[in-house]
Symmetry: C2
Subunit: 300 residues, 2 copies
């Protein structure tokens, strides 16, 4: 079964204390799509400008991503440039040039509208909502978000939360959204805003999955001995999760825990190279091997 | 089998944004001993002053702690006073009065010297070393430490590390000790300093256990919906771990993972009340129930 992924497709220029990498393939949808593509065919909806390199289009296609929904618009591709500090935990945005994203209206090709597994990768919540308007048979809708939207589009985000099955955000965003320092407390408050599932990402510390019933799952992260660039790790996490979910037999409820761990595994590979450089070199077999390893690392 | 625990026995005055609690039973050895006492008889070695309340002695005895090694010296008990910030993650020391600790020399009663499981709870590393000099049949020696000793007694600590089986410290201390921001990298460096096992505590994010061979175990923390006072949680963690280890059948290697999770469970109870207030109200059955719950929370 396919996964529909809507979000940003970007060019990322990433500086770290050790290196500088201009105009990498980036954006929430690119990372999520490549991650999901290891498990299932992906339908990507997004926009790029005329400057978007052909080789990136080819790279996406090679990774199981259908581009019928990727608009190539006159103008420049969304460009993000950022810098990481020494410990790789703090990120500073140097520049954001929206380019063709400024006037983008996500329009789903007719053949994408009945796709059951839908990932609204990190993106303006109003546009995430526009995608939902076009769906005919959604089975499981996941929305990812970030602090930017809490700051500038909170009303849109709150509207969106009533329409999705699962919200994904990181720990500081959860605290910001709920004004609750305790994560278990903040999870309860987010459920009241709409979603029956909430996932809080904690970076190198893993993630927590919560169901409206109060049931929790504490998901591990793979302990990495080198972190080259964490950009896109959160997008890879949700992408891998949705890719696995869409192909696993049984109910979403039955598969969600394993799906989170698969997402965690793909995210770990993402951190080992700049942008998508490392992720696009691995195979499904490498993912399965690390999943098995992570299982062994956490058994007691 | 008994566990020998050497460390500080203190009076703690703890301020949080919500409350003030003067002269609670505290200290690394008190917390560790109560935690271990749920699993095994404990031999406590430490010192208190003449002002130490009788009711605290009774509380320790009630919790399976033998006090033959607790010296009551002329003078005042070690008194620590500290304050937590709103999110309970940052602690500030307001005052430290060493009292009888200043001249303390840990002397083991003859009947304690052959005890196989030995916990050097957080304490001056030179004195932790003095304890090792008196042991006749140690099977598994664990040393806990803190940033203070990295700052003022690093040479003593490095000497101690060559003599213990396992070092326990938190993530920021591991980074400080090794100058390595990556935890997996810092674990490797700590093994080179001596211990065959290293445990890095990550508070609400759990812990990582590492063996010299490179084998890792990622241990979860129990997701708490209320954190009243985290003082002593790390001591409860190692205490619970050593208590379980000393009674479990089989080798240390076979039991260490489960021991960490038991430690994590006792530490979670510790955080739910000031000082030892909550920990001293629970039962072994409550610990086993939460262990079972944590197992279910982490299965995938």
């Amino acid at each position: 079964m396919s996964v529909l992924i809507v979000g940003t497709t970007a060019l990322d220029s990433i500086k770290t204390p050790k290196a500088e990498n201009p105009r990498l393939l980036g954006g929430s949808a690119s990372h999520a799509a490549v991650a999901a593509g290891f498990f299932a065919p992906v339908q990507l909806v997004g926009v790029v400008g005329e400057d978007f390199p052909q080789r990136y289009l080819k790279l996406l296609v090679k990774h199981n991503v259908d581009l019928a929904g990727l608009e190539i618009a006159p103008g420049k591709t969304f460009h993000w440039s950022g810098e990481y500090e020494v410990n790789m935990n703090n990120r500073r945005t140097l520049a954001t040039e929206l380019g063709v994203l400024e006037t983008f209206d996500p329009l789903l090709p007719a053949e994408y509208r009945a796709t059951p597994f839908v990932l609204l990768a990190n993106f303006a919540p109003a546009l995430q909502g526009r995608v939902l308007d076009q769906l005919t048979k959604p089975k499981f809708i996941v929305a990812d978000t970030m602090d930017l939207w809490l700051n500038i589009a909170l009303a849109d985000l709150l509207k969106l939360l009533k329409r999705v099955d699962c919200l994904v955000l990181n720990d500081s965003e959860a605290r910001q959204l709920t004004k609750d320092d305790n994560l278990v407390g903040s999870l309860k408050k987010i459920h009241k805003l709409g979603p029956q599932y909430v996932i809080i990402k904690k970076g190198e510390h893993g993630a927590i999955l919560s169901h409206r019933s109060g049931a929790l799952f504490v998901a591990p992260a793979y302990p990495l001995h080198r972190v080259v660039d964490p950009t896109g790790a959160g997008d890879s996490f949700v992408g891998g999760m949705m890719g696995y979910l869409s192909t696993a037999k049984g109910s979403v409820e039955d598969n969600l825990r394993r799906a989170l761990v698969y997402g965690s595994v793909v995210a770990s590979f993402c951190c080992e190279g700049f942008g998508l450089k490392f992720t696009t070199k691995i195979t499904r077999a490498a993912i399965d091997a690390r999943f098995k390893e992570l299982t062994a690392l956490t058994r007691f």
